[in-house]
């Protein structure tokens, strides 16, 4: 059966020793939409992101991206396929400048070989210029173009998160995997993130968003998947999930009120 969704995860399982982190998880993300993955800590959300971004091999199931199996790819192949990600705890290259960090996002799109680069052929130089231009565009998108020359490690935490996002965008992905991008951000910064998501959606980039910030999730997600203890316990629109008693019991809490504002 031809898969309509851009990303399709079928019966995915992952064990860490005796711990079953993912237990036959199945979910999908439609192209151009924002799919949120929520759930308590230890539910397997980051494991899911790691699995899709091929940080490790899974023990069962399959991952389909654009109708192709990607479960056997190596980590460095995923940007070439069109998948980019950010991390739960910011992982920037601290001793490099902000622009250099973002330019690494373009790495897999630069095809020139060693000798061309060393001899500074026209092709190599134009590729480098393009990477720089794309990097500055990505920085402009997140509003940090004036920080391009600063060392990444010197930026404020919220800004570092944005640089990570710019780095992911520089690879011109079709799918963005975002692991708790709002963690550690103040409300104003979360608002900014929301606006960025809308602009990303306008470019038809698909987002899979792991998040604890329910305000952000409920206001921007098209689809919400709930994980708990390595299994999917619910899937649906934000409104459906917000009113789902199983979800409220497992994660949202009795004090939860669904209010899409």
């Amino acid at each position: 059966m031809r898969e309509e969704r851009l990303l399709s995860i079928r019966e995915l399982s992952k064990d860490f020793g005796g711990l079953r982190a993912l237990d036959r998880v199945s979910l999908g993300a439609e192209e151009g939409k924002i799919t949120a993955v929520i759930g308590p800590n230890g539910a397997g959300k980051t494991t899911l992101i790691n699995a899709i971004s091929r940080v490790f091999k899974c023990d069962g199931g399959e991952i389909l991206f654009d109708n192709k199996q990607i479960g056997k790819l190596q980590a460095h192949d995923i940007t070439g396929v069109g998948i980019a990600r950010t991390f739960q705890v910011v992982r920037l290259f601290k001793q490099l400048t902000v622009l250099e960090n973002v330019m690494i996002g373009s790495h897999s799109r630069m095809k020139t070989g060693i000798f061309q680069v060393l001899c500074r052929t026209g092709l190599a130089r134009s590729e480098e210029e393009n990477a720089q231009k794309d990097g500055m565009d990505a920085l402009r998108f997140v509003g940090l173009e004036d920080k391009a020359g600063n060392l990444a490690g010197t930026l404020a935490y919220g800004q570092q998160r944005l640089v990570e996002l710019a780095r992911a965008l520089a690879s011109k992905p079709r799918l963005l995997l975002l692991d708790e991008p709002a963690a550690g951000l103040n409300p104003r910064e979360v608002d900014m993130l929301f606006n960025l998501f809308e602009r990303i959606r306008e470019q038809r980039i698909t987002i899979v968003l792991v998040e604890h910030n329910m305000g952000l999730v409920m206001s921007c997600a098209d689809m919400v998947v709930v994980l708990a203890q390595g299994r999917t316990i619910a899937e649906g629109s934000p409104k459906e999930i917000g009113n789902n008693p199983t979800v409220i019991k497992a994660y949202l809490g009795k004090g939860w009120v669904y209010d899409r504002s």
Binding site: S53, R54, V55, Q74, A75, H76, D77, I78, T79, G80, R85, F87, R91, F93, K94, Q95, L96, E100, M103, I104, G105, H107, S108, M110, T112, I114, V117, L118, R120, A124, E127, E128, A131, G149, R167, S171
Partner: protein
């Protein structure tokens, strides 16, 4: 740096000195051989360790491979140095290729031990396989001739200088392109670099082989320069001292390799009268790195920046704010 008259004059003076150095005497020429080779070695190690962040405690091993490969081809097979030299570099690359699968899967501490183990294996093989390598006595490297002219110290001065310049340009080009960025990404965060699209294994191998190449070249040049090579020059402690120029100059900086090469070669000469204080001075030097962890190159950079700032303030006092030029970073 901004191109102004004082800088251009300085550069011209330096170029003249470099071009005419052999005129300053045999001892100066001899020292410049050592400095040049130290810089070449440092540039290679800087690529693997400074840029790519992989510890290299076995550099003397590849250095020895280059030296002995060249010497053996000349002494036992009668090859001319013009062929023996590139062949020696190739030999170093081949040995690098053979050891890479074992070494490059190691990280940090185990990599340090692994590379050192390699160097030890080379050293002991050199010492014990007397039939091939001459054992403790070593190998004699006879002078080569081209059209009747003897290739002596002056020739090797220019050859070494040429390799230093080429080696520096290549190292700088690597640093400022996507390859250098990829290496530095691996240095900073290997796992993240992989997910960003960098084939970590392949880039590590590239850095490793380039380092082997530089080390092999340095070794071959050393064999010509010294005329007689013994395993003593490639002993275990040399693996430690061989990296001093890079560390003192600043890991990651190619200019630092030049500074470090000069300083660490001249230092023992300066201290030769005070043998017992040598270790003490080295100790202080390394302890001093606490104050300048990025090495001499960073001090120099800061120094020139502060100088420029002071110079600009003095030169531009009285300017209107709009006219004041932005004296930026290098």
């Amino acid at each position: 740096m901004r191109s102004t008259k004082p800088t251009t004059i300085l550069i011209i003076v330096l170029l003249v000195v470099v071009a005419t150095l052999p005129l300053f005497g045999k001892y100066v020429t001899y020292l410049s051989h050592l400095i040049g080779i130290a810089i070449i070695l440092a540039l290679g190690i800087n690529i693997f360790w400074g840029l790519c962040g992989q510890i290299q405690f076995g550099a003397a091993g590849f250095y020895a491979v280059g030296a002995y490969a060249c010497a053996l081809l000349q002494a036992k097979l009668g090859w001319h140095v013009a062929y023996a030299l590139p062949a020696a570099v190739l030999a170093s690359l081949l040995i690098g290729l053979v050891t890479a699968p074992a070494l490059l899967r190691l990280k940090i501490h185990t990599l340090a031990l692994g590379t050192m183990a390699f160097a030890l294996v080379v050293y002991y093989w050199l010492e014990t396989t007397a039939s091939v390598t001459g054992g403790e006595e070593g190998l004699r490297v006879l002078a080569a001739y081209v059209s009747g002219y003897r290739l002596g110290p002056v020739f090797y001065y220019y050859l070494i200088t040429l390799f230093v310049i080429l080696g520096f340009i290549v190292a700088e080009r690597f640093k400022r392109c996507k390859i250098g960025r990829a290496w530095m990404a691996i240095r900073e965060d290997e796992g993240c670099a992989a997910v960003m699209g960098i084939n970590v294994g392949r880039y590590k191998l590239l850095a490793f082989l380039i380092c082997c190449g530089y080390l092999g070249l340095g070794g071959a040049l050393f064999a010509q320069q010294s005329g007689w090579i013994t395993p003593m020059s490639f002993g275990i402690f040399y693996n430690v001292t061989i990296i001093f120029p890079v560390i003192v100059g600043g890991l990651g900086s190619n200019w630092g390799c030049i500074l470090g090469g000069v300083v660490m070669t001249l230092l023992p000469q300066v201290l030769s009268g005070m043998q017992q204080y040598q270790v003490l001075v080295y100790g202080f030097l390394l302890a001093g790195l606490m104050f300048a962890p990025k090495g001499l190159a960073s001090l120099l950079e800061e120094g020139t920046r502060k100088l420029w700032r002071t110079f600009s303030v003095v030169a531009h006092t009285g300017d209107k704010t709009e006219d004041r030029q932005h004296c930026g970073e290098n």
